[in-house]
């Protein structure tokens, strides 16, 4: 089953806007972990907004789990496709953790007892059970984003899209979010779309997609993508530092790399120099 499917989608933010998506085809299979890369303004965030029907395409078709994202179905699509946004302060509605996590579930008319269970499940999934009655304003950035993820999980979505959700966090917060994402994928079997410009975060994904000017220009495993360094540079991206080091060592006559893993790279260097 395809969790997300774009069929020749056209979109623009109005006549005089330079940005345009043309004839975009993009699918995410159920259970897949896809990373979407691209510089600022490449269309990554538009992709997320089209996928759950916040934006409507000018042409073509967007669907989630076979349900077309249009008209009366929008509600169903939004239930299936959860989106976590960038700014941790601008996506929580309530002041208290459990009230905010409940918000989505309340919107879709979930019975009261069931909401209680879902809050419990969602907070556990993001490792924030102890904070159920805490005041959101007092949490750290990473914790706030975990609450935002919990708020989406309480709707029991089939796919979760993280739209640069780590961009405003410190390294500790970023690690927290990446651990949660990994656990959600492994334990809950959730489909994940990770939109990011931290190249390192994409290494965890099954598949990486590079966007440029509203088009998908590269696709493949993260290893494949990062081995095409010249292409990445044309799309205004930079190599992950580890890939850059591997490449330079190779140019210097060593034969290392391709795995993008610190320990393996050290092992290979050790083999080459001894």
């Amino acid at each position: 089953m395809q969790a997300i499917a774009f069929e020749s989608v056209d979109f623009s933010y109005g006549e005089d806007s330079a940005f345009r998506i043309k004839n975009l085809n993009f699918t995410v299979e159920e259970g897949e972990f896809v990373a979407v890369l691209g510089h600022n303004g490449s269309g990554k965030s538009t992709l997320a907004r089209l996928a759950n029907g916040i934006l409507t395409p000018d042409g073509g078709k967007v669907s989630a789990f076979g349900i077309p994202a249009e008209g009366k179905n929008l509600y169903e699509v939004r239930k299936k496709v959860g989106v976590v946004f960038q700014n941790p302060d601008n996506q929580t509605v309530a002041s208290i953790v459990e009230d905010d996590v409940a918000f989505g579930a309340e919107n879709v008319g979930t019975p009261r007892e069931e909401i209680g269970k879902r809050i419990e499940f969602a907070l556990k999934a993001v490792g924030m059970e102890e904070y159920r009655h805490a005041t959101i304003a007092r949490l750290s950035g990473g914790q706030k984003q975990r609450i935002a993820i919990a708020g989406v999980l309480a709707l029991k979505p089939g796919v979760i899209i993280l739209d640069e959700s780590t961009a405003m966090l410190d390294p500790r917060g970023r690690r927290e979010i990446m651990e949660v994402v990994k656990r959600l994928k492994e334990e809950e079997g959730l489909t994940v779309v990770l939109i990011t410009h931290f190249m390192e975060e994409a290494l965890m994904a099954d598949r990486a997609v590079v966007m440029n000017r509203g088009e998908i220009v590269m696709q493949g495993t993260p290893q494949e993508i990062f081995s095409r360094s010249e292409d990445l540079i044309t799309y205004n991206l930079v190599l992950p530092r580890i890939r850059y080091i591997e490449q330079r060592l190779n140019e210097g006559g060593m034969s290392v790399g391709g795995t993008l893993d610190t320990q393996i790279l050290a092992e290979e260097i050790a083999r080459c120099v001894s």
Partner: protein
């Protein structure tokens, strides 16, 4: 201008139940000419420290008319020192306006402080504010200073000066905001997370800009950052803050040899330091300064020696 802090402490909401000790007996010297990095978790006191440097947070003694005499029999606390060049920031009669002109401060996401109708006006804001009374700079002088500032941050005066700052792209906005701080040619430039939220290329460009500024415009640059790679690649020296104290004050070359200690503090280490550690476990010593370039050279040299 040299920055000297000794026994500097600061508590938010002093005396209330919500009191938080943000700085705890901090002593730190930043020499003129350095590209200085300040590291630490959110809430480690690093932002509180840098806001002292231009008097946005004041040393309590500089706010009181009379000094409190310590009660008899109580130990006299060590005297707080905070000097930025010739300015003594513990004194009440210090000219804080003159200080702020010399110490430029770029906050996180500085583009959110833009307000004027045109980029030119916004950049000129600081220039007009800092002008001494009775010596209003002429339109011509303002124009020249704004042009220079925009040029050094990599914006084209002709193209952007009359535009609304809100019509610029994300990266351009940040450059314009930085221009608005450096337009008075401060001797010390302090930046809190200058690259936050930018994409990788934008990050690289901002760091290049800071080096240009350091070379041509501001003698000392101080950056607050979470990004270890950013610090190891760019800084001449750095301080690590943890729970309001300075735990290390070293050049990156020495600091990142303490990979294990830094990891124990919950901090990241640069990728090069991770590789050096992993190689050390395998019996290979790489003596590099932890910049990517030096690491690559040293590793290749090892191979040359081994072959």
């Amino acid at each position: 201008m040299r920055i000297v802090a000794e026994h500097l402490s600061y508590t938010y909401n002093e005396g209330s139940p919500f009191a938080v000790r943000a700085l705890d007996d901090v002593s730190l010297t930043i020499e003129e000419g350095e590209f200085y990095g300040i590291l630490g978790h959110t809430g480690s006191g690093k932002s509180t420290f840098v806001q002292h440097l231009n008097g946005l947070i004041r040393v309590p003694s500089s706010l009181k008319k009379r000094k409190k005499k310590p009660k008899k029999g109580q130990p006299v606390p060590p005297e707080t020192v905070l000097n930025v060049g010739e300015f003594d920031l513990t004194k009440r009669d210090t000219n804080f306006r003159a200080l702020r002109k010399k110490v430029g401060m770029v906050f996180q996401y500085p583009e959110y402080q833009l307000f004027a109708e045109t980029v030119k006006e916004d950049v000129a804001f600081g220039l007009k504010n800092f002008a001494e009374k009775g010596e209003k700079p002429s339109e011509e002088e303002i124009g020249r200073a704004v042009r220079d500032a925009l040029q050094i941050v990599g914006l084209d005066y002709g193209e952007v000066a009359e535009k609304s700052p809100f019509d610029l792209s994300g990266g351009q906005k940040r450059r314009a905001a930085i221009a608005g701080v450096i337009v008075t040619k401060p001797e010390i430039l302090v930046l809190d997370e200058p690259a936050a939220g930018l994409d990788p290329l934008g990050k690289r460009e901002i760091m290049e800009l800071l080096h240009t500024l350091h070379r041509e415009w501001c003698k000392t640059v101080v950056i607050v950052s979470h990004d270890m790679d950013e610090i190891s690649e760019n800084c001449t020296r750095c301080a690590v803050f943890a729970e309001g104290k300075v735990v290390y004050d070293l050049p990156p070359k020495e600091l990142f040899q303490k990979g294990e200690e830094l990891t124990a503090l919950g901090l990241d280490i640069p990728l090069t330091a991770k590789l050096v550690l992993a190689l050390k476990e395998r019996g290979i010593t790489v003596d590099c300064d932890f910049t990517t370039e030096d690491f690559i050279q040293k590793v290749l040299a090892l191979k040359g020696g081994g072959a």
